[in-house]
Amino acid sequence: MTTSFARRHATLAALALSLSAFSPATWAQAPIQAVASFSILGDLVRQVGGERVSVNVLVGPGSDAHVFQPTPTQARQVSQAQVVFSNGLGFEGWMSRLLKTANYRGQQVVVSQGIKPLKDAGHGHGHNHGHDHGAADPHAWQNVSNVMAYVGNIAKGLCEADAAGCDTYKANAAAYNEQLKTLDADIKTAWAAIPVAQRKVITSHDAFGYYAQAYGVKFLAAQGVSTESEASAKGVAQLVRQIKKENIQALFVESISDPRLIAQIARETGTQPSGALYSDSLSAADGNASSYIAMMRFNTTALVQAVRGR
């Protein structure tokens, strides 16, 4: 009996020793090189990847993914990456060309796989898109539940790229998802206090379709999804009529779009602009929306305050 116990003990000890050989302390491992297409996605990948992953973001904070032009440095980062994360749903029209130019043969992860996409809200405007949206609205991250699915896809992708760190990734993903659950609940609570009829917001960017669906808020827009398209008189007129008719108080200038048009509408209706929302990208590191969770909290607070009429 004692010999089998001792043998098991020895086996366990040997196993432990050999496993410790793979720990970071004994074997200095270079971080996984990952590329994320835009800043929000970059934050998510960093949350899941932790110290094991080094993330390069292509469309940085404040930039517009619709009109992005990669620099040579970024093309090099892509070619040296082991895994590339993109949103999908037509958000990065330039991605396939960039990957071809950089001769990228590594792993590609489309994080929106498996979620239920919304149709691109047309609003009856004459859109002249510079890119092809297909039929789907790409801004799925505005619904926190979707981001939980994103996180799952990111963890899976990182596991495939780096099996050794899979446990870490899964743990990080689980922890982050807990934070996201809290965030989702908080947002719902915040809106619960506002009567449904009052939940109307105007922005200059059709990027909040998923937020609208998830949290029961109505978003109206003056321009189409792309920042390239120009306003038509009819679109602006319809919007002004609607604001006046339904007495909408919340008027938001999106962080990467033309504030002059919003100001004009505000002048016309007597409603003052309520500031900016973050839709397609995070803010700078010292700003209000330096991480995804911070962004969603900031947006929600701003929206609720504006709708209340403050």
Binding site: V67, E230, S232, A233, D258, R260, L261, Q264
Partner: protein, 301 residues
């Protein structure tokens, strides 16, 4: 009696397709006011541009102004003052510089201007690419006539007033400079004043145009009405009046079409100008068809 008359008139105006949008919406009235100011000044400048065979120069100058406006945007955001000053400085530098080179060296006006504006454009793109991002250039490219605030309207009105007064003062030297520059040089010293003064007017009107219509379209409201008017009339006075009238008409119709058909405004305005041009090309007295066909009958002497 007044009580019943005016509401009825109001209701009719509101309902009418032509005036309804302007009665109902302040932003439509502002857009129209901006377009009127722009038409009154840009169209006459465009007539002189055409007569001096400088129509393509207008487009080149628009490219030269763009970097100045882009740099103004980088410095101060979508500030009207910064972008206007930047655009004017860039435009005047290119205009005066290329003019000096053309008048004092073996190079002619076209090559000298091409050299300068290409330099200016490349410099602008480089600076914006290094310091800013791609969105910035687009903001500069697409002005919107639907978003004219008080400051913008004041600017457009001011530029219009300055242009009209300057054209009135410079009219004779300007005409003579187009007609017979050698003669003007031999009888007076107004030649450089007329030349550079006109280039200055061109620059400020392009800057006004790009605030309202964007740099892509600003040249259109200068060049198209002038070319169209040429098919109809053959004297300076009528040319200036006709070009202005055509510009005003196209702006009014363009705003209405953008309103009713839900199309983006500045391309529609320029397309209206284009439609007027094509129609005149075919149908006007000095256009394609009637110009070529011999008259049905002729006079005795």
């Amino acid at each position: 009696m007044n009580n019943s008359l005016w509401p009825a008139l109001d209701a009719w105006l509101m309902a009418s397709a032509l005036f309804g949008p302007f009665v109902e919406f302040g932003f439509m009235r502002r857009a129209l006011a901006g377009c009127v100011a722009l038409s009154l000044s840009a169209a006459p400048v465009g007539v002189f541009l055409m007569l001096r065979r400088m129509s393509l120069t207008g487009d080149a100058m628009a490219h030269a102004i763009l970097p100045g406006a882009a740099i103004g945007y980088l410095v101060a955001g979508l500030s009207l003052t910064a972008m206007t000053i930047g655009g004017i400085v860039a435009g005047l530098t290119v205009a005066v510089g290329s003019g000096l080179v053309a008048r004092n060296t073996v190079l002619r006006e076209d090559a000298s201007l091409a050299a300068f504006y290409l330099l200016s454009l490349a410099l602008g793109v480089l600076i914006v690419s290094v310091r800013g991002n791609s969105v910035d250039l687009l903001h500069v490219l697409f002005g919107t006539v639907l978003a004219l605030d008080d400051a913008a309207l004041t600017l457009l009105g001011g530029i219009s007033a300055v242009t009209l007064v300057s054209l009135a003062l410079l009219y004779r030297p300007l005409v003579l400079e187009c007609l017979d520059p050698g003669f003007l040089r031999s009888v007076s010293r107004w030649s450089p004043v007329a030349h550079y003064g006109f280039l200055g007017l061109l620059v400020i009107n392009l800057v006004a145009g790009f605030h309202a219509l964007g740099t892509l379209m600003a040249v259109g409201i200068m060049v198209l009405p002038a070319a169209t008017a040429r098919f109809w009339v053959r004297r300076m006075g009528p040319l200036l009046v006709t070009a202005t009238a055509l510009a005003l008409l196209a702006c009014f119709v363009g705003l209405l079409v953008s309103y009713h058909a839900d199309w983006p405004t500045s391309p529609v305005i320029v397309l209206c100008l284009g439609v007027l041009y094509m129609a005149s090309l075919l149908l006007a007295p000095h256009g394609l068809l009637r110009h070529q066909r011999p008259a049905a009958s002729h006079l005795r002497g």
